[in-house]
Amino acid sequence: MSEFRMPSLGADMEDGVLVEWLKQAGEAVSRGDIIAVVETQKGAIEIEIFEAGTIERLLVDPGTRVPVGAPLALVRGAGEPARPAVAEATPPMPKSEPAPAPAAPSRPVARPIEARPSEATRDRTSPAARQLAAVRGIALAGLVGTGPGGAIVRADVERALAKTGAPTPRRGIDPGEMRKAIAAAMARSNREIPHYYLTHQVDVTATLAWLEALNAGRQPPERLLLAPLLLKAVALTLRDFPEFNGHFVENAFRPSAEIHIGTAIAIRGGGLVAPAIHDANIKHLDELMAALRDLVARTRAGRLRSSELFDPTVTVSSLGDRGVDGLLGVIYPPQVALVGFGTPASRPWVVGDRIGPRMVMTASLAADHRASDGHRGALFLLAVARRLQEPEGL
């Protein structure tokens, strides 16, 4: 028996609200199945399971806010007889959430002045009631407790909710929440990561011509954009530059054997998510294109999967065909590098001993100086450029 726990979907995530179970107790699950939907600052995320077995028991009701690492369900492994999970390690304790500001009235204003609240006068509220009130934004002040010693218990909060009709947590992307998540992650990045930046102009005339020729022979559904070429060039190059692919945790850089590229996807009207395309180095360009199309659609619909959020090892941000010359990125912690691509534009360029118009794109690297140095960064960026210029090798 194993515990299926709330996954961490990024360095900034502390908890998530379980919105919906897609599997019930007794149902068989296999690796990669989506078994629940969790509301986070990045939208409603489909949570996958990474073992095969049977759902033994669901531990959390929809609407519950659950801290990262806390158990959500018990899963019996395939072929395993009914065995109990004896947790040797205690899961992280849920953090207490700040109770919402009490709705001021209903409390006598003139209170006798006391040195400090004594045990007898202190308001008692059960942990379960506090939890529900915090999740649903209900003020505890003013509720009548019916529990032991007049304590406010969960049922009292439920009664209050029924009366006020407080909304249940909503699905999809909440721009305010997403803004907060970006703010937290980017502030942490600039606070903790000593960034250095490198830029390089790449002549992509041949690359674009190759792409155009390829697409000319294909119907629209099979055509490629430039983006999958960029992803593949970065992914292949990272194999030789492990110091840009991995995570900086607990004061040490841990390179990753897998190359999962966080792909920055803008949300119309503001907001940004960088979900992962897994094993980008071994995916064919067509597969990368399909993965990217799928990812863009689901990002904008607010339906990403947990595995796409918790394990990118590097980020690629591309401005597409309607942007500016270049970008200098802010690394998404705990990653250590972000590769940026500007919009290709026709520029005067020296080829041989002549000046002529060429399509030029600015590639950039923002990297963590704790994990790598500028010299290696420069070699890396040059190698990415070289691969891009030989698209048939992608």
Partner: protein
């Protein structure tokens, strides 16, 4: 299962049937202990087995717990599958060195080379006016020790089924049989056999509070649940079945649903099993709780001899009902 497939039996007969089946199934199995042969066992569990299986396999031993438990451990190391019976947990203290220092540690100290597949059965608990040296519930002490598995069958099916599974375990297993259960009568399926020994069981479903008991306290918890139901309070009753390792998942899942728990333990409160369960609930389900975890334990005295004092010292349904009401505030 149709009624035709049921047989009338008692807890004592179910334990005996389990031993008989084990002796028949595996010639390495034998029973050893004080008075298990000619006398038929101090609680008459092994009556008739000497005649059926002979003195090689039903062995009366000298009155030295240290010696015969040690012999059982030696036999297990030598490839046998001994069932060692100790009259009561109080007497097992004389064999504590063998159980804790030898049986529980050998696998570890031999770097995994020697396992000790011994099963030790013993009676536990009070209620028969046997006074302070024959009535204590010390199973929580054994549940403290890594290297041991500790079982507490509370039902006929578990009395019949736990032994076979325990004998299959490559490591030492201790089975506690509560003295007040031996006469418990009821029906058991004719083909009852081995049961899992690693999972607690929900014996009654309820939504308002979880009562957690085992062995001798399961019946009292169920009795309290019936009384509470008359007042519209629905108690869920969890039978721990295995005291080590505890089935945290089942306990936590139930408490997460009912949001209240009362642990019923015939051991003493201080440093006892009930404290461990309460701590587990705190660690795993704190945010689910609507009330502090309640405990109903034996009074912190040596078990008294006079009947009225003995009964007053033990957890009783009325005390369980009161503890439940305290968690509900009504």
């Amino acid at each position: 299962m149709s009624a035709a497939g049921m047989v009338q039996t008692t807890y004592r007969e179910a334990v005996r049937a389990a031993i008989r089946a084990a002796l028949k199934a595996d010639e390495r199995v034998f029973l050893m202990g004080e008075d298990v042969g000619r006398y038929g066992g101090c609680y008459a569990v092994s009556k008739g087995l000497l005649a059926e299986f002979g003195p090689e396999r039903i062995r009366d031993t000298p009155l030295s717990e240290a010696a015969f438990v040690g012999a059982g451990i030696g036999a297990a190391l030598g490839g046998m599958r001994p069932i060692v019976e100790i009259m009561t947990v109080n007497f097992s203290l004389l064999a504590l060195d063998q159980i804790v220092n030898t049986a529980a540690t050998l696998l570890h100290m031999s770097g995994g080379q020697f396992n000790v597949p011994v099963v030790i059965r013993m009676a536990t608990g009070a209620g028969r006016q046997l006074a302070a040296q024959h009535s204590h519930s010390l199973e929580g002490w054994y549940a403290h020790v890594p290297g041991l598995k500790v079982l507490a069958p509370a039902t006929l099916a578990d009395a019949r089924g736990m032994l076979a599974t325990a004998l299959e375990d490559p490591n030492p297993v201790i089975i506690f049989e509560h003295v007040m259960l031996y006469n418990m009568a009821g029906e058991l399926t004719a083909d009852a056999g081995a049961v899992p020994i690693d999972k607690a069981a929900v014996r009654r479903l309820g939504r308002d509070v979880t009562l957690i008991g085992y062995g001798g306290t399961l019946g009292k918890a169920l009795e309290a649940a019936t009384a509470l139901a008359a007042d519209g309070i629905e108690a869920e009753v969890v039978d721990l079945r295995t005291l080590r390792p505890l089935d945290t998942a089942t306990i936590v899942a139930s408490v997460a649903r009912t949001r209240r728990a009362v642990v019923v333990d015939e051991g003493w409160r201080t440093g006892g099993l009930s404290a461990e369960i309460s701590a587990l609930i705190m660690e795993h389900a704190f945010w689910e709780l609507d009330a502090p975890v309640g405990r109903v334990c034996t009074a912190e005295v040596p078990i008294p001899y006079p009947r009225h004092l003995e009964q007053a010292a033990l957890p009783q349904p009325a005390a369980i009902v009161a503890a439940v009401r305290a968690t509900l505030g009504r």
